[in-house]
Each structure stands twice: as C-alpha cells, then as structure tokens.
C-alpha cells in the first residue's frame, strides 16, 4: 500500500490540547465538527485548508498531554492519513493505531521534508519518498500491523467477537484498508 499526500509540518511537543482543545471534549462529538477545530490554537489555517490524504510531519513527542482520543479522530476526520514524527507520546501512538491513523517514526525524513511538498509513504518497503530522497523507517510490530490492517481496534474487536462491524460513520477510523 502507498499513501501519497501533501505535508503540514509542525515542531516539537505538539500537545493534545492544541490538537483538539479540552473545552470541547464533552460537547463536540461529531467527527466532522471535530475536524473543524483540529489544531485551531496552533494553526488556524489547517482546518480551513486541509485536504483528504494530507500527511502531518512533526518533531519530538507529537501528541503529548491528555489521553483524549479526539486528538486522533479530529485529524482522521479532517482527512489526515499518516503522521511522521521524530517520536510520539505513547498514548497518542496507541490511539493512532487503534483508530487506523498511521504513526511513523522517522527522524531523518522529518529533517528532510519541506512543508507543503507532496510525499509518498510505501508501506510494503517501509520507505518515505520525498523531494530530498528516500528514507527507510522501522517496520511496525505484527500486533500493531494487525490492528491497522483491521482498520482499528474496534473493527478488530468486532471481528474477534463475531459482531457485525457497524457502518463507517461510527468509525471515523474505518477507511484505512485500501
């Protein structure tokens, strides 16, 4: 599988309070509306201009702070397919996988990629292709891969328990299977 998209680039320690503000966590529950507030305190242009397939490239400790899963879902609903970072906060990393948003750790690519450029992520060869060249990243563990391939933790749970997987709308997460 290959993902191709335009890059939004951010710095270190981008926290969940700016990715999706805490004041909305019990009042905004519709993913499309969540997407309209994504990153609003950091970069108001993001929610206006983000396009499906876009990729976020960031520095260290992306997603630190609260455990709120909305910080993944808001970006997923905004169309973001993958985040490439120097490192991820651990709960954010788990939330991303569990919602089918691909987290990739690749400091070399983060250095090389320019904001706004089109890049490609090849999941078979675990390589990022950008203007500056090709950068390999470490493969995900089999456990993590199987969750991503199922489209997230909840679809995987449904499969395991023999439940029908409910319509896509309930999984702002579910389209990671192409």
């Amino acid at each position: 599988m290959r993902l191709r998209g335009r890059v939004w680039k951010y710095g270190d320690h981008i926290n969940t309070d700016v990715i999706f503000p805490g004041k909305y966590t019990y009042t905004i529950t519709d993913p499309a509306e969540m997407a309209r507030h994504a990153l609003e305190d950091l970069d108001p242009a993001f929610a206006r201009e983000v396009r499906p397939g876009d990729i976020i490239v960031a520095g260290r400790n992306w997603g630190c702070g609260s455990s709120r899963e909305q910080a993944v879902i808001a970006l997923k609903a905004a169309g973001v397919r993958a985040i490439i970072a120097r490192s991820f906060a651990r709960i954010y990393f788990r939330n991303a996988i569990n919602n089918g948003l691909l987290p990739i750790v690749c400091p070399e690519a983060v250095d090389a990629i320019e904001p706004g450029e089109e890049i490609e992520i090849d999941l078979e060869t675990c390589t990022i292709h950008c203007r500056a060249g090709a950068f390999p990243f470490p493969p995900l563990s089999p456990t993590v891969r199987s969750i991503l391939e199922a489209g997230g933790l909840l679809p995987m749970l449904c499969r395991r328990l023999g439940l029908p997987i409910p319509p896509e709308a309930f999984f702002p997460t579910g389209e990671a299977k192409d």
């Binding site: 490192s87 749970l157 328990l161």
Partner: protein, 437 residues
C-alpha cells in the same frame, strides 16, 4: 531470565506469566479499568457495537470528576448517561460528582493496591505508582475493548531509574523536584519508559508528596511510574481497605505488603539519574510547556491574575495546609483571584475540620466542589484572554485552561499561595519565614 524491573514483574503478573522480557508485547488482564466523564462516550460506542454486558463489572471504576457539577445541559446529560450505564451493568465502584478526582478517590478508597495493574482512560493514571502499582493511561477504544474482553496488549517498557537521596529543604516540595527533572531531561525524557524511583530519599516523602511525583510523571512521557512502597504506604492503605471489606486492619495490612512488588537491585535500566533532595530549590514551569522550567528566582515578580490550587497533581491536604499556613490572618492581593479546589471530598472535609478553609475564605479565596475544575478548561474559573495564571496543576499548554491567550505558570501550592498573597510570583520561603514557620 536475569534480574527484573518493576514493570517486568507487574506486567508478568497481569499477564499470568512467570516472566516477560523488555520489548515483548503481551496480553494483560489489568485488575482495574478506570474511566471518568468520558464513560458516556465509551458506553455509547459499546452499545453501538452491539455489546451488551461488561465482562467483569467489578473491575471497573468510574468517577464523575471532569465537569462537576455540570456546567451545561450537555454535560449534565453526559453524567445522566453514565448513571444509566452504571445501573444497567451493576457497576459497584461508581463515585458520584463531588466525591473527587478519579486518581485521588481510587487511592483513598484503597481500591487499587500495590503490585496491581490499573489502566485508565486518563493520562495521569501513572498516579498509582505512588503505592507501587502499575498505572498507565490508555485511550477510549482500549477501555471499550477492556470492558468487552478484559484484556489488552502492552509492550514491556525499558526502565529509567531515578535515585533520590537526602531530604527536601524548607519550602521546597515534590513538585519542585519533578519540575527540576523535566528541566534537566525534557518533557519526553521518560518517553515509553517505566520510571522507577529508588533511594533513601523516598522514605522522607509524605504519601501525598509521593502521589505528586507518580502523577506528574505523566508529563515526562512515561508509560508508568513507580515508587517502592514502604510501611508508610501499607499503613495509609490498610485501614481504608479494611473499611471496605470489614476485615481486621492488621490482616489487611499484611496481605497488602505481601503483594507488593520490588525491582531486583540490579534490574536493567537504560539510564540512572540521581537527585540530592537537599540541593533543590523552588521551580516554576513557564508558558507554554511543562519543561520550560526556571528556578523561581528568575521569574519572581511577574504579576498574576489568577492563582489556582487544585487538580489531581496538587489538590491534597498538605497542599491546602501550606496555603493556609501562608495566608493565615492575611488577605490576598487585590489584583488576584484565588481558587482552591480540594482533590476529593475527604480532603475537603479534613481541610474544613482543621480550619484551613476558614483561613482561606478569610484571605479572600473561592472554594469549589472537588473535581478537575478549570484544569482542562471546562468551567469554574477560566482565565480571561491576556491573563496570567499561576497553578498547582500539571499542564500549561496553550489553551489548556480554556483560552489560548492566557499564560499559565506551574508551581507548587506553596508558590501559588505566596504569589496570591503578593499578587506576583513569590518565593514561599520569604513568606513562610515571616509567619515564623
């Protein structure tokens, strides 16, 4: 296998295995699954998936704390849905609005015990490391999966060791120690790690101070934190546990101690750091990150508008006690509002009994219902755009308290109280000396 870390031992126990290796991914059955106001969203999804019954309702703990009492009909409806879910599933460990913040309440109720594992849909679940339990934050989907199956995967983390020696000097607290660690090692200095404290200094710390450390380590990026439990921990927990079970305190105490886990002395660790507690001084985290830390002396004098003592990090009795000590017989500065939110109803009652609340009220403070309050910007004391806040909480990210245009400084409750008194960021040692402490 060789010597083991605490994390290895705790994860092995929760996985029903004799041992696990660092880096291995294993399925665990945590003893406790925690959720709070976010329970309603998880419950909705639970039903939407067609799930009917929680696998083991007695392992769930649910508190209402993030927006209590509810500020809007939407928040109130959220609570109402949670109450319905609790009744439908027969969940006994449910704590109503007003009882307090989840981590404090589950500690006071002695639900979680040393050597156990708790996974919670809250990042500060690291808190339970104060007693030598394995506490880690997870997401909502994971809590749902835990409700349904009782199990989840965890990667066995590498460990960091932080050795504490000596004793905290006058006017310096566990909060200052943590801020110093963040300054030295960065907000991701403990990323993915089990941070395991060691050293004789731990014994000199009160139970409440140990809670500060394990709780605040969430801001260090750790998976879990660990302080080795000693007699003080067992003595704190035993009567509380005995109250629940009706057993004799001594028997409960022995059982709790027997289940405690300790890392092997030569357990592997990626790095070891050493802090001499006597050498620490008051520290402040400046806007807008928790590792933007300076010694208080470098920021003393900055004017503040709102002073906040509360949160699961620093809203306990010793925090309110030091504020009362600083403000006894005095009034806060006219340019400041002081908010005090006890972390639990137990803390509130004890502060009332000891006369602290009266002192604080006479000094001009507002006292509010136990809960998270304005910590995450929900309600009960949001700063105005352009205002400066000094808070005893754990996060000062831009927008954290409800407006991106406020500046939040984080410090110990002693610093917050002294700053409320003077209207400017103030070293509490100056004021404490004046009160003859």
């Amino acid at each position: 296998m060789g010597p083991q870390t605490f994390a290895q031992k705790a994860i092995a126990r929760a996985a029903g295995r004799s041992e696990v290796a660092v880096g291995e991914i294993v399925d665990v059955r945590p003893d406790w699954i925690l959720s709070h106001d976010n329970t309603a969203a998880i419950a909705q999804m639970f039903h939407r998936l067609g799930l009917r019954r929680v696998k083991d309702p007695d392992r769930l703990a649910i508190t209402l704390d993030h927006a209590v009492p509810p500020p809007t009909p939407r928040h109130a409806q959220n609570h109402a849905e949670i109450r319905r879910f609790v009744a439908e599933q027969g969940i006994r460990n449910f704590f109503e609005a007003g009882r307090g913040i989840c981590h404090q309440v589950l500690s006071e109720e002695a639900l979680v015990l040393p050597g156990q594992m708790i996974l919670g849909a809250d990042s500060h679940t690291t808190h339970f490391g104060w007693m030598g339990a394995f506490g880690a934050g997870v997401g909502r989907s994971e809590v749902l999966a835990l409700w349904a199956t009782g199990e989840i995967w965890l990667r066995v983390p590498e460990s960091l060791r932080i050795r504490l020696e000596g004793r905290l000097p006058f006017g310096v607290t566990a909060k200052d120690l943590c801020l110093r660690i963040f300054r030295d090692l960065g907000a991701d200095g403990g990323l993915y790690r089990s941070v395991e404290f060691a050293g004789d200094g731990i014994r000199t710390l009160s139970i409440e101070s140990r809670m500060v450390i394990a709780n605040f380590m969430a801001e260090f990026g750790v998976k879990n934190a660990y302080l080795p439990p000693d007699d003080a921990v067992f003595e704190w927990l035993a009567p509380r546990r005995a109250r629940r079970t009706g057993e004799p305190v001594e028997a409960v105490r022995e059982r709790i101690a027997a289940n405690a886990l300790y890392p092997d002395p030569d357990a592997p660790c990626e790095a070891e750091y050493r802090y001499q507690l006597d050498e620490l001084e008051p520290m402040v985290a400046c806007p807008h990150s928790v590792d933007h830390v300076k010694p208080l002396r470098e920021v003393a004098g900055i004017r503040v508008d709102l002073a906040f003592i509360g949160t699961c990090t620093n809203g306990r009795l010793e925090d309110i006690a030091v504020a009362a000590q600083i403000l006894r017989g005095r009034r806060i500065a006219s340019n400041v509002r002081l908010l005090v939110i006890p972390a639990s109803s137990e803390v509130l009652q004890e502060a009332l009994r000891r006369g602290y609340l009266e002192i604080l009220l006479q000094a001009g403070a507002m006292i509010e219902v136990p809960g998270c309050g304005p910590c995450m910007g929900n309600h009960m004391g949001i700063p105005a755009p352009g205002e400066v806040v000094i808070s005893s909480g754990s996060r000062n990210f831009r927008g954290r308290m409800g407006t991106p245009d406020a500046e939040i400084y984080l410090a110990s409750p002693a610093v917050v109280a002294a700053s409320a008194l003077r209207g400017r960021i103030t070293d509490p040692r100056e004021v404490l000396l004046e009160c003859g402490a």
